[in-house]
């Protein structure tokens, strides 16, 4: 009896290893780039970190399926490398010889991706599940595009400026007309020899036809 139990127990890890195969149908590869993400604050990857990983993944499975039967032992890891990368599979808690199919695992990870990342202080890029694309953050769209706001401000200033300039030009012109009218009134009163100044205004003397000559714009023939 004891021998059989011992045999069964020794078979379990062997079985587990057999279940976790790199490039297996339901296996996923994970890559961590801790030094890239954390630089000087990078932590050492060891057994305890591995344990945390398995626990986090079990948590993700529990959350996705709603079954509270998933445990750290359900997640089996193999082929660790110094890169830090490894393969893992998730076994069915009810039947430890079968594996949870790939899409199930994928959906679970997708659902709790953020929690998994934060557990390790990493991001989608530095905690990479090979084959599961990172969730793309949709760009934030404010209700009114920012550029229209800036455009509205600029156009408002421009319109106000144009109106101000047109109105001020109008007022200036009215004022100038008024001063010209006033001056003309004054000039009418100035008389010399009974001849009003006005007849001489703006003319270079009186035009004497005998002295008219062609404009010397064009060269003479």
């Amino acid at each position: 009896m004891l021998a059989r139990v011992l045999l069964a127990l020794s078979l379990v890890p062997a079985l587990a290893l057999a279940l976790c195969q790199p490039d297996g149908q339901d296996a996923y590869k994970v890559r961590l780039s801790i030094k890239t993400a954390l630089g000087a604050n990078a932590y050492e990857w060891n057994e305890s970190e591995q344990f945390l990983f398995r626990a986090t993944l079990a948590f993700a499975m529990r959350k996705y399926t709603g079954q509270e039967t998933f445990n750290v032992s359900s997640v089996i890891v193999c082929n660790e490398t110094p890169r830090v990368s490894f393969w893992f599979v998730v076994t069915n808690p009810n039947d430890t010889t079968t594996l949870i199919p790939k899409n199930g695992v994928e959906e679970a990870i997708r659902l709790s991706r953020n929690r998994i990342n934060s557990a390790f202080l990493l991001s989608d890029k530095t905690l990479q599940f090979v084959g599961i694309p990172p969730t793309l953050a949709p760009p934030s769209q404010p209700s009114l595009p920012v550029w229209l706001i800036v455009f509205g401000v600029v156009m408002g200033i421009v319109t106000a400026g144009i109106l101000a300039l047109i109105i001020s030009g109008f007022i200036q012109r009215k004022k100038k007309e008024k001063t010209i009218e006033d001056e003309e009134e004054k000039q009418e009163r100035i008389m010399e020899n009974g001849i009003s100044f006005e007849t001489l205004e703006g003319k270079d003397g009186v035009n004497n036809g005998a002295y008219s000559h062609d404009e010397d714009r064009l060269t003479q023939l």
Partner: protein, 622 residues
């Protein structure tokens, strides 16, 4: 007789002046800033650095300065002097010299108008980018997601987010010029705001331009200095500067370099637009135009050289960034493939690792298809024109910390550079029209300038269509090039040989107090016309040899994201030829018209001789 006339002139005192007095500059600084602002434009920032880098760096300065001394400054002096002396816009000036030359002025007017159309569209694009520079993150940093949010839009993923933002989001460009597309509403409102801003500065002619120019002409220098300081602290800046300024003297053997230097100087100084003549016509006649010309010419070239330093420092930074990204991509591939510890392969020991792995696992290395990263290749990816501003520079700005600030500063600088050049274009249109008294008296100046802006805006809507960018390139290449050379050639020949170099020298002596020295005589009489003629002929030869093609952005092209080279269809090419020839055609047309008029008048006079007229009493002319 002369004395008596003079006395009668003096006896009648000048009465209250009407509003016909010619407007004038508030002070000399305004005038100089306006001329400098006109000459210093977008080309100083995005054409000169590219030419400098393409044509052997520091060595390019040699043909450039030679062209400035023997072509640029003499032509500049001539335009400023003739405008100042004859106190009229471009049409009036050439009409005064000889009525047969009126066509030269009309040519200037048409070129100014056509250039103004597309130049302001570029400013509309700058405004669009400026409006978008207030977002965090900048919209050209990331690709937008596709419909079902599983990945990025294909067009963007294949090219780059910066390219996608320029070609798709901004221009919404069509795959070819025949396919016009619709009017893009966002471009229309940007164009409207650009014309609105131009109108506000231009509304009362030089009265408002003179005030605006204090800001628009000086602000770019402030921004360039800020960029210079920032750029020199960026990593990779020195690579860019070394690349730019390393002189390759053997490039000077290529005649194309000399041609490009001469054309660059000519277009950079904004000659033959009529704008400079208009500006100087508002000067008092006793003004030292010789010194003004030298100042404007030297400042323009100095600005070009000064601007190229931060531009290339930033381009060097961008090339270094791209090179580092390329290296990092390769390092990640190697690390993942060989399960080497994270961060064990760094940029520094990448080469030694690669060599080691190549000897041991050469097949696997080959399978990885590592990218070949060369910083020289990234530095060679420079561009000129809109490509530099809206693609290359925007990409560099994303990588700089505090991107929004740098983007805003850059686009405001571009806008004020372009705005001050627009003033010159518009004055080249307004002043001749005012001088010809084509404006009815009852129409206030504000309304007339508004009308010009409105007409220009409506015509420029062509450039807001899907194919707008292709049309803009056409206008840029065919209007802003050949006609200007022809007009400038006729200008200098008219002044030197028809107006008379002796008379011109006398005028300048009267205006400045000094007779122009041997340098001016030699350049005006022989060197500059000869250089213009050679440049013109060489330009034609080069243009004829180049096929009439354009680069189209076609997402369905096999080699996308490379641009597709397409031929201009027949009718489009006819328009190109029309654009080049219409401004120039007025020169012979007007000459012919005046000639016919002269002939008719002679015929009329010989028929109308009255038998009673006694010519013995016709006085001698002065």
């Amino acid at each position: 007789m002369m004395a008596e006339e003079k006395n009668t002139k003096v006896a009648v005192p000048e009465l209250g002046k009407t509003a016909e007095e010619r407007p004038k500059w508030d002070n000399k600084v305004q005038y100089l800033l306006t001329c400098i602002g006109f000459a210093v434009g977008l080309g100083n920032v995005w054409r000169f650095p590219y030419l400098c880098q393409t044509y052997g760096g520091g060595a390019f300065l040699i043909p450039y300065i030679i062209a400035l001394i023997f072509e640029g400054i003499p032509l500049l002096h001539m335009e400023l002097a003739i405008g100042q002396r004859l106190r009229q816009g471009s049409i009036g000036v050439w009409n005064s010299i000889s009525p047969f030359l009126g066509g030269v002025g009309i040519g200037s007017l048409i070129v100014s108008f056509l250039v103004g159309l597309f130049y302001n569209t570029i400013l509309a694009w700058v405004l669009w980018y400026f409006f978008h520079s207030f977002q965090d993150p900048l919209p050209w940093r990331d690709c937008p997601l596709n419909q079902n949010k599983t990945g990025y839009i294909e067009e963007c993923a294949k090219s780059t987010p910066v390219n996608y933002f320029w070609y798709r989001v901004t221009l919404n460009i069509t795959p070819n010029i025949i396919d016009s597309g619709d009017l893009q509403w966002w471009m229309v409102i940007c164009l409207a705001s650009a014309w609105g801003i131009v109108y506000i500065c231009f509304i009362r002619g030089i009265e408002t331009i003179g005030k605006a120019v204090y800001v628009t002409a000086t602000f770019p220098y402030l921004v360039l200095t800020i960029f210079l300081i920032r750029a020199l602290t960026l990593p990779g800046a020195t690579e860019g500067l070394v690349y730019l300024f390393t002189p390759k003297v053997e490039v000077l053997k290529d005649p194309k370099v000399w041609l490009d230097a001469a054309t660059q100087i000519f277009f950079s100084l904004s000659l033959a637009f009529g704008g400079l003549i208009a500006f100087s016509s508002y000067n008092p006649q006793k003004n030292n135009c010789e010194r003004d010309a030298v100042i404007v010419g030297v400042v323009n070239s100095a600005t070009s050289i000064y601007a190229s330093i931060p531009i290339f420092a930033i381009l060097g930074f961008k090339a270094t960034s791209n090179y580092n990204d390329c290296l990092d991509g390769n390092i990640l591939s190697i690390t993942n493939a060989f399960n080497i510890g994270d961060q064990n392969v760094t940029r520094e020991n990448y080469d030694s690792w690669l060599n080691h792995l190549n000897t041991t696992h050469s097949q696997e290395i080959e399978d990885l298809h590592l990218k070949h990263c060369s910083i020289q290749e990234f530095l060679d990816q420079s561009a000129s024109g809109t490509g530099l501003a809206f693609i290359v520079f925007t990409e560099a700005v994303i990588k700089m910390p505090g991107s929004q600030v740098w983007a805003v500063l850059f686009f405001v600088m571009l806008f004020s550079l372009g705005l001050s050049s627009m003033f010159g274009n518009l004055e080249g249109i307004l002043t001749p029209l005012l001088d010809l008294h084509l404006v009815p008296k009852w129409l206030p100046k504000e309304a007339f300038t508004g009308l010009i802006c409105l007409i220009a805006f409506s015509l420029a809507l062509i450039f807001t269509m899907g194919s707008g960018n292709y049309w803009l390139e056409i206008f840029n290449s065919y209007v802003g090039s050949l006609p200007l050379l022809i007009i400038a050639f006729f200008e200098i020949i008219s002044v030197v040989y028809i107006y008379g170099i002796g008379r011109f020298n006398d005028d300048i002596e009267w205006m400045t107090g000094r007779r122009p020295n041997l340098y001016w005589q030699a350049t005006w009489r022989v060197i500059s016309p000869l250089m213009l003629l050679i440049v013109f002929l060489a330009y034609i030869v080069v243009q004829v040899q180049q096929p009439a093609t354009y680069e189209a952005w076609n997402p369905n092209y096999i080699n996308f994201p490379m641009t597709e080279t397409l031929d201009y269809p027949g009718w489009v090419f006819a328009i190109c030829v029309l654009l080049s020839s219409v401004p120039c055609i007025f020169i012979p047309i007007v000459a012919l018209y005046r000639f016919i008029q002269w002939i008719m008048r002679r015929v009329h006079q010989s028929q109308n001789r009255s038998p009673c007229e006694n010519h013995a009493y016709e006085p001698e002319l002065q």
